[in-house]
């Protein structure tokens, strides 16, 4: 097991090294500075990165790492919330479709999710925003929390910070933060949700064909018991590797969502850095996102192997 994890992390390190090479190349292009000893330049660049020195933002004059620390949790909060939302909705819907494969219900679920899958996110975001801003004003469409609430960041996650805050308005602030989260979450969750539905449907219908389901039914187990004990337990581990891939897609889509909903996360920050031609910020932001995505993928692989018996043999494989 330990060896397996080391192997996976080797992959992580190699990919990150490749990334730093690209980053180094770009930064030397931007600075227009070429020295005689590229290797030692590269090494000092990598050491600076490793010690958390991502440079100074030319737009604000603050260290890039500090700025990323301030905006990244907002992105994480949005992505996690969208991710959880897509699973909570996607798993049951996919299960229903998979259990009744071929029925009208199945066809209509798949039809709707194909439609949702094909809608461009920024367009959906604008539609949602226009509807909620112009026609009904019962949900906020921009920002993360009403700015009048002053909550000092501890974890950077507003939902947690408002709960642990001792401000007299902490509870109101929590509800306010939750309200702000709803629309961006729905928009961001749309595409991964359709993916969860599709995967869940395939694996559930696969499991339903198995003999042990028939055996369980003939033992007299109720339908709910069959689903909980056999169907879900056999189908869910299969979709976890797909979820890992979805997570990187979610982060990419989050950029667009943040821009439309003025969500103060790393996506909006990066876009404004591009406008201001703040090269240090663009490079630092890209590097942090890329490392995070790779890390998430490696992590899901490890988790899959741990909980999925079929793939556990990879631990012992000597490739």
């Amino acid at each position: 097991m330990f060896l397996y994890i080391i192997r996976r992390f080797n992959l992580f390190i190699i990919t990150v090294a490749a990334l730093t090479l690209i980053g180094f190349y770009l930064s030397s292009r931007v600075d227009g500075y070429v020295s005689d000893n590229i290797v030692s330049d590269y090494l000092s660049y990598v050491f600076a990165l490793a010690s958390g020195d991502l440079g100074i933002s030319s737009a604000t004059g603050h260290p890039v790492l500090e700025e990323i620390k301030a905006v990244f949790p907002a992105t994480m909060e949005l992505c996690l919330s969208a991710f959880i939302f897509s699973i909570i909705l996607g798993v049951p819907i996919g299960t229903i479709a998979g259990m009744r494969r071929g029925s009208t219900l199945d066809t209509s679920i798949m039809g709707v999710s194909l439609l949702l899958f094909s809608i461009p996110v920024f367009w959906l975001a604008l539609l949602v925003m226009m509807y909620f801003a112009l026609n009904s004003s019962w949900l906020p469409v921009t920002g993360r929390m009403n700015l009048l609430y002053e909550i000092s960041p501890v974890t950077g996650f507003n939902l947690i910070d408002t709960l642990i805050s001792d401000a007299p308005y902490a509870k109101e602030a929590f509800i306010d933060a939750l309200k702000h989260l709803i629309l961006p979450t729905i928009v961001l969750a749309t595409v991964p949700m359709t993916e969860v539905i599709r995967q869940m449907r395939n694996h559930v219908s696969e499991v339903m064909k198995q003999k042990y389901i028939k055996a369980a039914a003939s033992k007299g187990l109720s339908k709910t018991e069959i689903i909980l004990r056999h169907v879900l337990r056999n189908a869910i581990p299969n979709i976890i590797p797909h979820l890992g891939l979805q997570f990187s897609a979610v982060i990419a889509t989050a950029m667009v969502t943040e821009a439309v909903f003025s969500w103060p996360g790393i996506g909006r920050w990066l876009i404004s850095s591009i406008y201001q031609q703040d090269h240090a910020a663009i490079q630092g932001g890209m590097l942090v996102i890329a490392i995070f995505v790779i890390f998430a993928n490696v992590l899901t692989e490890i988790i899959t192997v741990i909980i999925h018996p079929v793939r556990r043999k990879e631990i012992y494989a000597k490739r």
Binding site: F132, A133, S137, P140, V141, K179
Partner: protein
């Protein structure tokens, strides 16, 4: 299975409805105000800036000036100075200062004394004296003070006693009071400055501001928001808002969305095209003020054929102001006859308008010797300005009008820095530009745009130089009586109207949109919002 899912769904929707239905009327919102502005401030010291966004976000909130301008009457009223005297030779201005005015107490500074003459000496000294220890702290210089040549105008600045100061001028200048009452001439704390000097962080004076204004600085997140807190020690009328937050939202559509969902209470600069949508919305109100600004079409009066006033007049007759107001401003501006806007006290209401008449325009061109027209370049800005939301569109409208009298227009659009360079070099035929007043004195409009000296200093791009005009405006600033000055300015405007180095096009209205839950939304004399009287009934 389906049943358990139904339960789950209905639970989810209940939660959403519960959250959505929650009552908004809680204390923090009742006592706070969010203002959506268009740009981040470049500094928290109005002395160091020329940007409207910075002024709007800092000047009247954090600071006080020696004098204020009453937005309704345009008269001066006491600020940090309670009374003032002007000597008979018009060279000495003496101010009595207000007592017991406290500077802000914040997390980073606790004042030990109240406001006195030293603070005035510091505030103006750091601007006019290039040897002053704080002179070089501002990286952007002091654009307003440099523009009016404040340093050579003020020969001496004397402290008479703790609560009395005296300015000695080089020559009589009746716009001096207006300059002191402008939003740039704020009073900073000398004590705070010396504290900062001791800990070697002088530049904090522009980043962590200390003033005497109705609000004090709390927090700033670049490109995100500014948080101010009520100054409970304020000497003037105290505000009912405990908190004032500026939400920085560059995109006009996002600002509108925030206003409609009540994320902001007040929205700056709604786009002209949004006014219709906003006025249809029942929960939103609009305040419209005539702005102290002008948009004009200027000519390079040094080169033919634009050196001929007849040609310029012909072009003025070919402009349909109605169309410009409708298509460019969506009727959020008024047509201009003079460079001065009607709200200025020196505005000459007797000026005649150049009527839209293409046949007459063609006749004038023929008389001037150009029966077949000519080619002309128009330089335009590629971004919107207070006085002109869409210069490119305006240029295109002019293009189509002028083509009918045989004038072929080529439009060139630029960033401001590039355009400014071209204008300074004289490398152009004509340009679409404008002016936003720094103070309420007519001198500020006329001298900067049209005096002979301003050709050299680079703000009179038309290069029009008239000794008669210069004499009129120079004479005007030596008079103290409004009535004397008005006559001279009337004459100066007539002269500009005849000669037409600049064709005035429009005065943009200053529009704010705000939610209907607010009372007492007033603008300052310079068009910003006055937050002190706003209440939520």
């Amino acid at each position: 299975m389906t049943i358990s899912n139904k339960i789950r769904f209905s639970f989810l929707f209940l939660t959403i409805q519960f959250i959505a239905g929650c009552d908004n009327q809680n204390a923090i919102k009742q006592n706070g105000l969010v203002y959506c502005i268009e740009d981040s401030p470049s500094s928290f010291n109005p002395q160091t800036t020329a940007s409207t966004a910075t002024l709007d976000a800092t000047a009247s909130e954090l600071y006080d000036s020696l004098l204020f301008v009453d937005p309704n009457t345009q008269q001066f009223k006491p600020g940090l100075a309670t009374e003032w005297q002007i000597s008979t030779d018009l060279l000495t201005y003496r101010f009595k200062l207000r007592r017991d005015v406290k500077f802000h107490t914040t997390a980073y500074f606790t004042p030990t004394r109240t406001f006195n003459a030293d603070d005035v000496l510091f505030s103006f000294g750091s601007v006019i004296n290039s040897n002053h220890p704080f002179y070089n702290v501002s990286k952007s210089g002091y654009p307003f003070f440099e523009g009016i040549d404040f340093a050579s105008q003020v020969v001496q600045l004397n402290k008479i006693n703790e609560y009395e100061i005296e300015f000695k001028l080089a020559s009589p200048d009746s716009s001096f009071i207006a300059n002191l009452a402008s939003e740039f001439s704020v009073i900073l704390s000398a004590e705070y400055a010396s504290e900062l000097d001791k800990i070697a962080s002088k530049n904090h004076i522009n980043q962590f501001p200390i003033g005497t204004g109705p609000f004090k600085f709390k927090q700033y997140r670049t490109d995100n928001f500014i948080r101010y807190q009520k100054n409970s020690d304020y000497w003037g009328e105290s505000t009912s808002m405990e908190q004032l937050v500026f939400d920085i939202t560059p995109n006009a559509s996002s600002r509108l969305a925030k206003l409609l969902t009540q994320e902001c209470d007040v929205m700056a600069y709604p786009a002209a095209s949004q006014i219709d949508i906003i006025s249809q919305h029942e929960k939103v109100k609009i305040s419209i003020e005539t702005g102290l600004n002008v948009a004009y079409w200027g000519f390079n009066t040094e080169i033919a054929p634009f050196n001929n006033p007849k040609v310029r007049r012909a072009m003025a007759h070919a402009i349909n102001q109605e169309t410009l107001l409708r298509s460019v401003y969506y009727n959020t501006a008024i047509g201009a006859k003079s460079i001065l806007p009607p709200v200025s006290w020196a505005y000459n209401p007797y000026l005649k308008n150049y009527k839209y008449n293409l046949a007459y325009a063609r006749q004038l061109l023929t008389e001037a010797g150009y029966p077949n027209g000519f080619n002309i370049d128009i330089l335009t800005l590629n971004s919107s300005r207070v006085y002109n939301p869409d210069a490119l569109k305006m240029a295109e409208l002019l293009q189509s009008e002028l083509s009918q009298i045989g004038i072929e227009v080529k439009i060139a659009k630029f960033e401001w820095q590039v355009m400014q360079e071209k204008l300074k070099q004289g490398d152009f035929d004509s340009y679409l530009l404008g002016w936003v007043a720094d103070n309420n004195d007519p001198d500020n409009f006329l001298r900067f745009q049209l005096s002979c000296n301003a050709i050299e200093s680079g703000s009179n791009f038309s290069r029009w130089c008239s000794t008669e005009f210069d004499e009129l405006i120079n004479q005007a600033i030596t008079k103290t009586e409004y009535s004397d000055r008005v006559i001279l300015y009337y004459r100066a405007q007539e002269l500009v109207q005849q000669e037409l180095p600049l064709i005035p096009l429009a005065h943009s209205l200053r529009i704010h949109a705000y939610t209907d839950g607010l009372d007492g939304v007033e603008t300052t004399a310079f068009g910003g919002i006055n937050f002190t009287n706003i209440t939520r009934p």
